[in-house]
């Protein structure tokens, strides 16, 4: 079963445009992540899928059928909310059972389905409790159970981990991945956290200001970011990007000049991931001397912050590369194959 958003536009009553004609299509069983900073339109896109918000223009199709004007209950989707949205007056069991009761399942079917999903999410001991007696992690597990218990084809999750503390977030993240593997349902997951997106998604849709920047597998996005924005948004520490220009087979930026091979001259943005800059002995061919500013040990690696003009270049290395002494000069090399090029005006990727 395929889902397609075609030319989805959403203008809010106050005139702000949340989505400028979004096109997005995905297949059954994928784990789609909608990633972007706040105001990028990712939550709006998710709510359009759910039917909780209506597009100003464009259509939404499920299996080729236009569902744009269908209410949420007829779309066959479950949803998990950031603030859990559990029914405070019902027990955990009744919360999970609610979609089944609304859909008129028989009593014993309800019991067995609730038990099964509760076992998967390890919340069986809390079935008799009220939501107010649960921790954040337990509450969100209940919300996930409620969204999945009736086996919808698609499960939407709007920042489900954002209200949890760091350790719990990692735990639940792994559990969601396992759940997706076991249930083989389509998951659509909204987040602003690039690490969550990278670890969970089979494909990531990177959104910015209501526009789709890139929609590919995490690996491809990491290796070939479609724009400067994606390059800087995906990966931590962020990709180094430098404004400069190419002249005479070299890239020139304030405080920096590196050989880049045959390229047409002109202003350009150069990008390179911190782990792809090499620290080399002085005198190595193509090496550039840079002054060490600070170093941050992120065991087992080290982040070296090197001064390049008024900018800082981040290099991810190991303790063996150099000694952490502020003011020392390090020699670094920028492998030509690891360089990314972006248009200085539009930010679009250049070959």
């Amino acid at each position: 079963m395929g889902v397609a958003l075609r030319g989805i536009r959403r203008t809010f009553p106050d005139g702000t445009v949340a989505l400028h004609g979004l096109d997005l299509a995905f297949e059954q069983g994928e784990f789609i992540v909608l990633l972007g900073p706040s105001g990028s339109g990712k939550t709006t896109a998710c709510r359009m899928l759910a039917g909780l918000d209506v597009p100003s223009a464009g259509t939404i199709e499920i299996d080729g059928r236009d569902v744009t004007s269908l209410p949420p209950r007829l779309r066959g989707m479950g949803m998990v909310f950031q603030n859990y949205a559990l029914y405070a007056h019902k027990s955990v069991f009744e919360n999970i059972a609610y979609p089944l009761r609304v859909r008129k399942f028989a009593g014993d079917a309800i019991r067995s389905k609730v038990q099964a999903i509760a076992a998967m999410l390890r919340i069986e001991p809390y079935l008799h409790r009220k939501p107010a007696e649960l921790s954040g992690g337990q509450a969100q597990r209940v919300a996930v159970a409620r969204a999945l218990v009736w086996e919808p084809a698609i499960c939407l999750m709007d920042e489900p981990l954002s209200n949890l503390d760091a350790l719990l977030r990692l735990q639940l993240r792994t559990e969601l991945k396992r759940l997706h593997r076991d249930l083989r349902k389509t998951f659509v997951f909204v987040t602003h956290d690039q690490e969550e997106a990278m670890t969970l998604g089979t494909r990531i849709a990177v959104l910015r200001d209501g526009r789709l920047e890139q929609f590919e597998a995490p690996r491809d996005i990491y290796r070939r970011p479609a724009s400067r924005f994606v390059a800087e948004f995906i990966g931590r520490p962020a990709m180094n990007t430098l404004d400069g220009e190419v002249r005479d087979r070299r890239f020139h930026a304030p405080g920096l000049s590196i050989p880049v091979g045959e390229r047409s001259s002109g202003p350009v943005v150069l990008g390179i991931r911190p782990e792809q800059i090499e620290i080399v002995p002085a005198g190595t061919e193509g090496a550039v001397p840079l002054v060490l500013d600070v170093c941050e040990p992120v065991e087992p690696d080290v982040l070296w912050f090197l001064r390049a003009g008024d900018r800082s270049l981040i290099v991810r290395g190991t303790h063996d590369d150099a000694t952490a002494e502020s003011g020392r000069t390090l020699h670094v090399r920028f492998p030509v194959a690891a360089l990314h090029w972006f248009d200085p005006a539009t930010g679009a990727r250049r070959p």
Binding site: P13, L52, A85, A88, P99, A143, R146, W150
Partner: protein, 274 residues
């Protein structure tokens, strides 16, 4: 004695005075209802007397005031139900939907309570005469609903606003329609607020005199309208007045005790948060 405890004692003293002022009339009312005519009219008020039960049967059976109690219950009960049935959905829309003129319309509900009640008495009287409803329970129920409605809208909006929007949305994802989400999930979650509002509506309707007196002076009159009937050319039957008043206040006292916690929250929170 530290300043803190000194203040505390002063606070208690002030509180004690307030309680005495508030409760004394009721205690006196209660005592009066058990007094004989002689004790009531004695020139020196007395706390000690030989109690009599006679006032209660005299008025409720002898003067056939029992149906008035029933009228009071019907009027207060149905006007409360009607106010909630119309007002709660309206309040929900005010809490959830954005539409032009929302705040103006919301304020309009309040302004209906700003005019002195007597100012719309004549229009009401003419309306109910024209529709043939004068001197029926219906007239009083509708009149009371007209002022309780604004109370319901004002109080319930705050209670609904306290319930996260995602709750409605979760219910819709779980297979409910918009109306189904309201009835099945939002309304039960707002039950404490609904109960507090209902009690307040009931009390206001139960205590109301003016409209009831104008619109149902005979057949459909409630207890409040019955009391002036005990002021006779031969003098006021204070013992029976007190007996009726005790019965009329009893349900209010019980209700207030039951929901006082929600009532305080509803009156402050509901009004402020809206």
């Amino acid at each position: 004695m530290t300043p803190g405890t000194a203040w505390r004692r002063i606070a208690w003293a002030v509180l004690a005075v307030a309680v005495v002022i508030a409760v004394t009339p009721y205690v006196w009312l209660l005592l009066t209802s058990f007094k004989t005519r002689v004790d009531i009219l004695s020139p020196e008020p007395t706390w000690r007397f030989a109690p009599t039960w006679a006032n209660y049967p005299a008025v409720f059976i002898g003067k056939e005031y029992l149906p008035l109690l029933w009228n009071s219950l019907l009027i207060a009960g149905f006007s409360t139900l009607l106010s909630l049935a119309i007002g709660a959905p309206a309040a929900y829309v005010f809490a959830r939907e954005r539409f032009p003129g929302r705040e103006d319309l919301f304020f309009f509900f309040l302004t209906t309570r700003m005019a002195p009640p007597i100012s719309i008495a004549v229009p009401l009287f003419l309306f109910f005469t024209a529709t043939g409803m004068i001197d029926t329970l219906h007239a009083v129920i509708i009149a009371h609903t007209s002022f309780n409605l604004s109370l319901v809208v004002w109080m319930m909006r705050g209670f609904f606003a306290d319930i996260p929007r995602e709750i409605d949305e979760a219910a819709q994802m779980d297979g409910r329609s918009r109306l189904g989400a309201f009835l099945g999930v939002v309304l039960p979650l707002a039950a404490p607020g609904l109960a507090a509002t209902a009690v307040l509506c009931f009390i206001l309707s139960w205590n109301e005199f003016l409209y009831a007196f104008l619109l149902a002076a005979f057949e459909g009159r409630p207890l409040t309208v019955g009391i002036p009937g005990l002021v006779t050319p031969h003098g006021t039957l204070w013992g029976q007045v007190a007996a009726v008043a005790v019965v009329a206040t009893l349900p209010i006292v019980v209700f207030a005790m039951l929901v006082q916690r929600h009532l305080v929250r509803g009156l402050t929170f509901g009004a402020v948060k809206a």
